[in-house]
């Protein structure tokens, strides 16, 4: 199952492991980039984020767990498969807690590793897709005027046009026009659709002045 658009990054300070892994993954039809240290990965990484990171736990300087932490800080969401020379239970627990896909002890079973990588790639694809959708949704929302955003907030909180008009001190007719525009711009098929989008966007109905 060659996946030419998928890039796997390997970070391991041992050249034997690096080359063996690289050959193994390439033989499975994956594109591979190798790095000798966490710093090198952070500095040299291309514009395209890899889909999966195969990461050695014991690295000189910044350790594997440190890198995982650092990536989380800069919101670099790449699924990680950890490797370690000797099974270290506390470390593996910490890594899995921080969202690692798998934690493998050297020498590892090739199939186990490939399975973990495929799972990671799958997870990555999902993340990317979600991100893209979210971005699209946010773009659409950004394209709304301030007034339209206001109207949308009122609409998704279930208010009637008349109520919205009262709330915003505008005519009902104007509310209708705004509402139509909001539906069109948000590509919403129905009110329910719009409500789902609002949820995804994290929009909550503003507290009405009457209630405060």
């Amino acid at each position: 199952m060659p996946q030419p658009d998928v890039v796997i990054a390997i970070v391991d300070d041992d050249p034997s492991v690096r080359e063996g892994l690289s050959s193994l993954l390439r033989s499975a039809g994956l594109r591979v980039e190798t790095f000798a240290s966490a710093q090198e990965f952070l500095v040299r990484r291309g514009s395209e984020a890899p889909s999966c990171l195969v990461l050695d736990l014991q690295l000189p300087g910044l350790s594997g767990l440190d890198l995982q932490k650092r990536m989380a800080e800069v919101e670099l969401e790449i699924p990680i498969v950890f490797l370690t020379g000797h099974g270290n239970i506390p470390a593996s627990v910490q890594a899995m807690k921080a969202g690692a896909v798998e934690f493998l002890t050297k020498p590892f079973d090739d199939q186990k590793l490939l399975n973990a990588i495929h799972e990671a790639v799958e997870r990555d694809r999902h993340i990317r897709q979600q991100n893209a959708e979210m971005r699209e949704l946010r773009d659409r929302y950004e394209s709304l005027t301030a007034r339209e955003q206001e109207v949308m907030q009122q609409v998704v909180s279930g208010l009637l046009n008349k109520q919205i008009a009262g709330e915003l001190k505008i005519t009902e007719f104007t509310v209708k026009i705004h509402r139509g525009r909001v539906m069109r711009k948000m590509h919403a098929d129905s009110l329910a659709d719009l409500v789902r989008m609002a949820e995804n966007l994290g929009i909550h109905s503003p507290k009405r002045s009457a209630r405060t």
Binding site: D14, S16, V17, E19, G20, L21, S23, L24, R26, S27, A28, Q58, P60, L83, G85, H86, K106, P107, F108, D110
Partner: protein, 1445 residues
């Protein structure tokens, strides 16, 4: 209304040249005839003057003249002037009322000092035609000529307005304008007297303001109320209606004859019937035209200029110029210094001058005439000019098409038909049609109508930037429309279009006489376009590339204007005429050739005139310097901009027109040929040391003038800035100085003498007037500059010199005589001889000694045989002497020689001869001086003494005996050399003081010495003593001294004499013998080993030492004489015999035995036996050492070593235990590589198309990683082995590297970074690989552990290995851990001391013993920063270092 105190001067200037013509009219018989002649002259002059010789061009507008103004506020002059005249020498004179008279040379207004007796006020000045100047004051009249007053007298009533008219004989007619004058207003003035005419002579009015000869012997006289014509005592009065009530005030101020003969009358009042008018048919008629009303002008003064134009100066209305019916006005708004103009004057250069209440103004005709908006052009934006065949000049302007016909300028604007705004290129075709480019179209202009050229596709052509007609009658137009294109027009329609891809975009077009057209392109190239073919010629001009004008000559050569000179193109070759060829500047805007074959270039710095012959010369030689004439800004050129279209034109009348981009400029070559009047220079004054003198001839200047300034000038008013001067001062200057425009010459420190200063001037056209102005002057000499003074000084100096010389000679003679006496009385022979030995002279002593004068012995020269043979010098010495003498002459070095010289009686005596040269300053020998000193007696005495002393000294030295003498107090009187040597004093320093030798006597022996000495003194006996002396350096000497008192006749001791003998050697020999014996015995007794001496013959013990007795338990006596077998174990008898046998053979024997004590116990001994011979006998010397203790110690050491090895092993194994995780990791890494690669290899091989290349690479990696794992395992195994301690040659860098490979993971686990610093060329060491690795491992592990608790800084370990001096290798393991305090530091190497929780405390202890077993050292030291450093050194591998050595 004019003010009563204003003084108006009306002047009629009659040119005397008119009367000096071919018909001389000398009519001086009576006054009447004079008047007739004057009138005739005036008339003739007026006729002649009217001819246009060279005058202000009447066709020009006043604004086209160059107007110059000197205003009071500019500081040019002190106040307003009222009168102008020009004397025959060319100077202009101005006079004011209270400001005096000023002379003007074009640059400077010079105050004129009026002649003596003249009052302060001079109202008018008038220059007559015979070179004189009249000055008229309040009531005085002075006539001045060449600086001298030739006439002076009083005349009442002048102090008002004065009208002046001159007779041909130089006498004047003037009017008296003062109201005080009763009834004689007209006066005739000669140098002798004034005669006034009034009522009695038929003049009914008084006073009068103006006078004008009527040309027939009579006069017109203008009064306050009427005009009077007076002739031959009869007058006709013409009252002027408007002046009826004017009595007492100024009336008619000016009368002139117009060009047509009419009489112009100016009245100083405006109003109906007043102002400016003409007198016609007996009545005054105001001059009124459609545009001008003469009644509104109050007239001050009038003149008629050389062209016949009437100039009128007015009160408050400026200047009017009237010619025919055309009246022009010029006032303050135009730049006139004031609107109230008081007088007018036209000078010889036809410049019109005007004085105003605020200054002086002049108007001159520039050579280049400018037409601008002032003259009626639509705007000052002239971009093109065309001269049409009908004489019309067409001007392309912005917003109008202007044209000039017969000097009148008019415009066609959009309101009268111009079909647009910007007029572009113009062309008149061969049939006389005018093509005009307007905005984006091309039009045919005919009969006042514009017809637009039909455009193909109704697309406007665009701005027509260039248009030309070729020889076929086709019209070509370059159009800068939306697309730039060239079009061909025929029959009033566009027949062809060429876009820029076909023909390069151009600007200027010109027809080729051979057909086709030339295009000046936007890139600056020239392109010939003929029958569809293009030829491109690159001009490569600097600056603006576009050529504004191109002319193609009949011979095919092309001329083009450019920013980089005039460009010529002939036969494909480009040449340029630039400043290098003599042009005033490089930028040529346009050019044309006139009918007289002159070329006219319009350049950035003016109009340049160039003969065609010069152009031809330039064509032939592009480097030629061309003759040209430049008309620049001062001539009216105004090349400020760049015309966009037609830039130059030649009109039918021969005038040349240039469009400047702003204005239109015109040159009229026929008028240019008239040059300015020649300039005459004048010397004005001489300033000597800031004192000014008038420039009179033969001026005598004071003695020694420091600064001399000569002021000169030349009156010239056309362009004074261009007047140049040259001067020379004879005989001071060799050549003419070019002073440029400077008007002063400066000289400093002129020597006395007669001088002649000459100066010449050039006029504004650069024509030099070779007639020089001269000034002769002389400078008187000061007394010290006179010749007799100089001669006196020389004579005095010579006399002083002679006196000094005489004095000197006398003193020298006296000194010489004294010296001669001294020399002659010297008891030594002194001589002097030439550089090569000739000319010897000696003092009297020579004669006394040798008995004959020096001359007799020849030349006293080494070369002179006669002298050598004279036997003056002893024959045995003469050769040496001559050799020395020759060498001295050759080298110039002095010499000294002992030689024998013959006395008069024939005996030879020894002399010391000395020869010394005398050098001159260049080192050459001038003379030799010499002396002969008699040393015969001295020589003999010396010889005798030397011999006796030598004998004595030898004797003393041989016997170590010194002789001495001293006085009774022991103070030395004489010491022989040996005494000095014995006491250790230096004979060179002389006898020591009394105390010094006494102090050297050994203190214990001093009394002994004293007693012996006293015995000699007091007992008067010989005494002998032995004592010691101690030198300061500690040398001790034994002395034996004998003293003998010397008695005088009275039996008293005078001195003590004696000898001193050094007996040190003898004493030392005695003592050493005794001491040697004792010491030897002691040594032997105290030796730790037992000593036995056997007699080999007797086989008994001869001697033993104390150790031997003590070890065996016998006494010395018991042992001596005993056989050694008594204490040797019996079983060793054979062995004993063998020792004896081997030693007897001369061998030194080592062996171990058992000895038995007296009590029967035995102990092991090591025996060392050798044979010695002594006094004929043979003895065996046997040394026996008890070795019981040493054997026991060896056993214990072996046990300890085994224990240490075990401990080391335990330590290694336990350390490896600690490292298990790390080792596992080290093995795991390559293993996981093996697994990955193996899996990959399988995958590469699987499938339909196995990738063999990748599979092979994976397999190779498997092999490599497998080996790597095996290496780790091997290394670990080696460490766990119990090693036999084999030594091999090792490289410490490799050892350390292997250890790091094992602990790598452990370090990583503890976040420790290991850095290494391995020196190159590290010495090899000899050692046990495993043990040394153990040491390094220990140190590294300790370091890692020491850093495991470190937080907040780098955990860094540094391992360094390098050579240290000498022949040592040092390894340092440095951690950055917590460090060790002093207390711990001292204990860490102790066994079982540990700072770790699980440590055995053996690591460092073991490490230290390993290092020490290798001959090295291990120690710890605290770092500068945190942490501890462990160092160990090992010696360099011996074989290696030996080989290296």
């Amino acid at each position: 209304m004019p003010q009563p105190n204003l003084h108006v001067i009306a002047i009629v200037d009659d040119d005397p040249s008119a009367c000096a013509g071919p018909q001389p009219l000398v009519l001086r018989l009576n006054q009447r005839r004079t008047l007739i002649a004057a009138a005739l002259c005036s008339f003739l002059y007026l006729l002649l003057a009217a001819a246009p010789v060279r005058a202000l061009d009447p066709n020009k507008r006043l604004t086209q003249y160059v107007h110059t103004s000197w205003r009071i506020q500019d500081g040019s002059l002190p106040a307003g002037m009222f009168s102008i005249t020009q004397t025959s020498d060319g100077f202009l004179w101005f006079s004011g009322i209270a400001q005096g008279v000023y002379r003007f040379d074009g640059v400077r207004f010079l105050p004129w000092v009026p002649p003596t007796k003249m009052g302060f006020h001079i109202y008018s000045v008038f220059a007559d035609h015979v070179g004189g100047l009249w000055a008229l004051g309040d009531h005085e009249i002075a006539h001045v000529k060449d600086g001298a007053v030739i006439a002076y007298f009083d005349l009442e009533g002048l102090g008002g307005r004065v009208g002046i008219s001159q007779d041909p004989d130089g006498s004047l007619w003037i009017t008296r304008a003062s109201n005080r004058v009763a009834d004689a207003p007209l006066c005739h003035i000669t140098d002798r007297a004034a005669k006034c005419f009034g009522k009695s002579d038929g003049i009914p009015i008084s006073p009068a303001d103006a006078v004008l000869p009527d040309g027939e012997g009579g006069f017109w006289v203008g009064g306050q109320t009427a005009l009077v014509h007076w002739r031959a005592g009869v007058s006709q009065v013409y009252p002027i209606e408007g002046l009826k009530s004017n009595a007492g005030d100024v009336g008619i101020t000016s009368l002139v004859r117009g060009a047509d003969g009419s009489l112009w009358v100016g009245i100083a009042a405006a109003g109906p019937g007043l102002g400016l008018g003409q007198f016609r048919n007996g009545a005054f008629r105001p001059f009124v035209t459609a545009e001008f009303d003469g009644t509104k002008v109050a007239v001050y003064d009038m003149i008629v200029d050389g062209d016949g134009s009437l100039w009128v100066s007015s009160v408050g209305k400026g200047i009017f110029r009237i010619r025919g019916n055309v009246v022009e006005h010029y006032g303050r708004a135009d730049g006139l210094s004031s609107d109230t103009v008081t007088a007018l004057f036209e000078d010889k250069e036809r410049i019109v001058w005007a004085t105003t209440t605020n200054g002086i103004d002049s108007f001159r005709d520039p050579r280049i005439t400018t037409f601008s908006a002032l003259e009626g052009l639509g705007k000052d934006a002239v971009t093109g000019v065309l001269a049409s065949k009908d004489g019309t000049i067409w001007i392309a302007n912005s917003g109008s098409l202007d044209h000039i016909v017969n000097a009148s300028v008019s415009s066609i604007r959009s309101e009268n038909g111009l079909p647009g705004h910007q007029v572009a290129s113009l062309l008149e075709d061969r049939v006389g049609n005018l093509w005009v480019g307007v905005d984006d179209g091309l039009y045919l202009f005919k009969d006042g109508r514009f017809r637009r050229l039909p455009e193909p596709d109704h697309q406007p052509l665009g701005l027509v930037v260039g248009v030309a007609e070729d020889i076929d009658g086709d019209i070509w137009a370059e159009c800068a429309g939306r697309t730039r294109k060239l079009v061909r027009i025929r029959d009033f329609r566009v027949v062809e279009e060429f876009v820029s891809s076909q023909v390069p975009p151009g600007h200027t077009l010109a027809p080729d006489p051979q057909g086709g057209i030339w295009i000046g392109t936007l890139k600056g190239d020239l392109v010939r376009f003929r029958q569809g073919g293009l030829e491109n010629f690159s001009l490569q001009t600097k600056g603006d590339p576009v050529s504004r004008q191109i002319i193609v000559n009949a011979d095919g050569s092309v001329l083009a204007a450019s920013d980089d000179g005039l460009v010529g193109l002939r036969q494909g070759k480009v040449q340029r005429m630039t400043t290098k060829n003599g042009l005033p500047c490089d930028s040529v805007i346009s050019f044309t050739e006139d009918n007289a074959k002159q070329w006219w270039l319009y350049t950035g710095c003016g109009v340049v005139e160039l003969a065609n012959s010069e152009i031809q010369r330039w064509w032939a030689n592009p480097e030629a310097v061309v003759q040209n004439h430049v008309y620049d800004v001062l001539d009216g050129a105004r090349p400020q901009g760049r015309p966009s279209f037609n830039s130059a034109a030649l009109s039918l009348d021969g005038r040349i027109w240039f469009a400047s981009g702003f204005v239109l400029q015109m040159v009229e070559p026929s008028r240019l040929s008239q040059k300015a009047a020649s300039a005459q220079a004048y010397v004005e004054s001489v300033v000597v040391d800031h004192k000014e003198f008038r420039a009179t001839d033969n001026l005598k200047l004071s003695r020694h003038p420091r600064d001399l300034q000569i002021d000169y000038t030349s009156p010239s008013f056309l362009i004074p800035q261009r007047v140049r001067f040259r001067y020379r001062l004879d005989p001071y200057d060799r050549d003419w100085h070019d002073a440029g425009t400077r008007r002063q010459a400066f000289y400093t420190d002129l020597p006395p003498g007669k001088y002649s200063f000459r100066v010449i001037a050039s006029n504004s056209d650069g024509v030099w007037n070779e007639t020089a102005a001269k000034l002769n002057f002389s400078v008187a000499p000061a007394y010290y500059q006179t010749n007799w003074f100089r001669a006196l000084c020389v004579a005095l100096f010579l006399a002083l010199l002679w006196g000094a010389y005489l004095l000197r000679v006398r003193r020298l003679q006296r000194d010489f005589k004294k010296l001669r006496d001294v020399i002659d009385t010297i008891p030594t022979i002194v001589f002097e001889v030439g550089p090569r030995g000739s000319g010897a002279v000696a003092n009297r002593r020579w004669l006394e000694y040798t008995g004959s004068p020096l001359r007799q012995y020849g030349r006293f020269s080494p070369e002179d045989q006669a002298w050598r043979d004279s036997t003056c010098i002893h024959p045995n010495d003469i050769d040496v002497y001559v050799k020395c003498w020759e060498r001295a002459i050759a080298t110039g070095q002095p010499f000294e020689l002992e030689t024998r010289v013959r006395r008069a009686d024939g005996e030879y005596r020894w002399f010391l001869a000395r020869h010394v040269p005398l050098h001159n300053m260049h080192g050459k020998i001038l003379k030799w001086f010499g002396t002969f000193t008699d040393i015969e007696d001295r020589k003999r005495a010396e010889e005798a003494l030397r011999r006796s002393e030598a004998y004595l000294a030898d004797a003393h030295m041989l016997a170590h005996t010194g002789a001495w003498a001293s006085d009774s107090t022991t103070a030395p009187l004489y010491w022989s050399e040996e005494v000095f040597r014995i006491f250790g004093f230096d004979p060179q320093c002389g006898l020591p003081a009394r105390e010094e030798p006494l102090r050297r006597i050994y203190p214990e022996d001093f009394d002994k010495f004293k007693q012996a000495f006293d015995r000699a003194i007091h007992g008067k006996l010989d005494s002998q003593v032995e004592f010691r002396i101690l030198w300061p350096d500690g040398t001790l000497k034994h002395i034996q001294a004998i003293a003998h008192p010397v008695l005088n006749a009275n039996g008293e001791v005078v001195e003590v004499v004696g000898t001193t003998v050094d007996i040190t050697e003898r004493k030392r020999a005695e003592e050493e013998l005794h001491e040697g014996e004792t010491r030897f015995r002691t040594f032997v007794d105290h030796a730790g080993d037992a000593l036995f001496v056997y007699d080999l013959e007797q086989r008994t013990v001869v001697d033993v030492n104390r150790s031997a007795c003590e070890s065996l338990g016998y006494t010395r006596e018991e042992l001596i004489g005993k056989s050694p077998l008594g204490f040797h174990m019996d079983s060793y008898k054979v062995e004993m015999d063998s020792i004896v046998g081997r030693a007897a053979a001369g061998e030194t024997v080592f062996d171990t035995h058992w000895h038995r004590r007296k009590d029967g116990s035995t102990f092991p001994v090591e025996v060392h036996a050798s044979m010695v011979s002594y006094r004929g006998g043979r003895f065996l010397l046997m040394v026996a050492r008890n070795i019981t203790d040493r054997l026991r110690a060896d056993e214990q050491r072996d046990k300890l070593r085994q224990l240490e090895a075990d401990l080391a092993h335990i330590n290694r194994v336990s350390m490896l235990g600690e490292l298990t995780a790390s080792i596992a990791h080290e093995v795991n890494q390559p293993l996981s590589g093996v697994v990955s690669n193996g899996s990959a290899c399988l995958r590469w091989l699987a499938g339909d198309r196995p990738n063999l290349e990748e599979a092979r690479e994976a397999a190779q990696r498997i092999v490599r990683d497998g080996k790597r794992a095996a290496e780790v395992v091997t290394r670990v195994r080696a460490l766990t082995k119990r090693t036999a301690g084999s030594r091999e040659k090792l490289d410490l860098n490799v050892i350390i590297g292997e250890v790091i490979a094992i602990v790598g993971d452990e370090a990583k686990k503890n976040s420790v970074t290991i850095r290494t610093q391995f020196a190159d060329g590290i010495f090899p060491v000899l050692g046990d690989r495993v043990q040394l690795q153990q040491v390094v491992l220990n140190l590294v592990m300790n370091g890692i552990e020491a850093m495991s608790s470190v937080e907040g800084r780098e955990r860094e370990m540094m391992i360094a290995a390098g050579n240290t001096d000498p022949d040592q290798v040092q390894v340092t393991v440095q951690d950055s851990g917590a460090g060790l305090d002093q207390d711990k530091m001292s204990k860490i190497f102790d066994p079982f001391y540990t700072t770790k929780a699980h440590g055995m405390g053996m690591g460092l202890s073991i490490s230290r013993s390993i290092v020490q077993a290798h001959g090295g050292r291990l120690w710890a030291a605290a770092n500068q920063g945190p942490g501890t450093s462990f160092h160990f050194t090992l010696p360099r591998h011996e074989a290696e270092s030996n080989a290296a050595a």
